[in-house]
Symmetry: C2
Subunit: 222 residues, 2 copies
């Protein structure tokens, strides 16, 4: 009988490539947040609102994922934000290999890299890209049942931003029910209701982010 | 040298399975619409609104696709609508094989089968399920740029329903821009702005659907 040797696959898995990306981000001292949401939940507005409110000494880069075009990149660049665009052509999510392709374009150092994933509440959650954590944006207009129906993202996201609270008087959205659905998936989730239109709620988001960034800096330099 | 025979794959493709599903739907005389949209765009409300307004002699079935749970099925069943539930567990779309699995549960005859796909503006468009055509629901709260950023669905959908027009006074949504984006992808798209909350615009949707159903009946019986 011949010896059968199990050889390690020559293909690097997404998980392995994500770990390599992570090493790169660690080297340049960047804290990386993977921003995931449905189309039109307000990912770009959220990112713009965060960068506008973050103390100016934090250096921020946005990696912008879109199937096609650069509508969001242009919006963010107009706000004076550094942006690297990825067009996935047909793919419904960003993966670690797409991120790896743009790393050579990142001329650090950055304190914070916000990755705006393709608008999709399902697939992007399945692919690690080398992020520190995932952040979900759920908009009130999508309905309070979404965490119950699309569990994976809410299971994995450390932070959930509930956006478009300014529209609450005009729609049926039960914040308590949404909260309960999120916490059912992840009892440790940090939930921040905000309105990117009025700016309501951003103070708490920024306070949290600054705490995260400062803790991350201590880890990097220790 | 050995002869190399190219054998036809024993695996049936999604396209082939969709063609089989289509034969089944033709046999029971059903016109099938694949309803696709982002999470929370209002697919279930749209379906409920259509069935409530359709003349009562049309027999309607809904095939309900969700990753998990049966929140939407229960909503529709409470309206007295026949529903068959598919839970995809993790899959981000319905495919022809999932539909095939529930065909034995369909005790026709039905004039119209509305398939509510998983909430996702990207992946469901890639999979035929045996439908007569795809119908996209775009909600105003998602933004007027969606047809530009998520082209495939708008390229393929014969009908695009723009939902939540009741919220137009409270948001920035340019109906002209959305229309132009849809028509850029598909110059023949039929676009119907509606509000499932107030019922505005449904008259035109129902008139179109009745025309489609009657034309389909003529084809089936000829």
């Amino acid at each position: 009988m011949k010896n059968v040797k199990v050889l390690k696959s020559v293909l690097v898995s997404n998980k392995e490539r994500a770990a390599e990306n992570r090493k790169f981000f660690d080297r340049i001292g960047a804290f990386v947040v993977n921003v995931i949401a449905s189309p039109g939940a307000g990912k770009t507005s959220f990112i713009g609102s965060v960068v506008a409110r973050l103390p100016k000494d934090y250096r921020v880069l946005v990696i912008e994922g879109d199937i096609r075009g650069q509508i969001d990149s242009e919006r963010l660049a107009q706000l004076g934000i550094d942006v690297v665009q990825i067009n996935t052509e047909t793919a419904c999510h960003l993966d670690a290999f797409m991120i790896a392709q743009v790393l050579p374009q990142i001329n650090g150092p950055y304190d914070l890299i916000l990755v705006e994933n393709v608008g999709n509440l399902v697939c992007p959650a399945e692919f690690e890209i080398g992020e520190d954590h995932k952040l979900a944006v759920l908009s009130t207009t999508e309905g309070d049942d979404k965490p119950y129906k699309y569990p994976l993202l809410f299971h994995l996201a450390k932070v959930v931003v509930i956006n478009k609270t300014d529209l609450l008087p005009h729609i049926d959205f039960d914040l308590k029910k949404a909260r309960a659905g999120i916490l059912q998936e992840n009892p440790c989730a940090l939930i921040y209701p905000v309105s990117s239109k009025t700016g309501d709620g951003y103070e708490a988001v920024i306070a949290h982010l600054v705490k995260e960034l400062d803790a991350s800096k201590k880890t990097h330099t220790s």
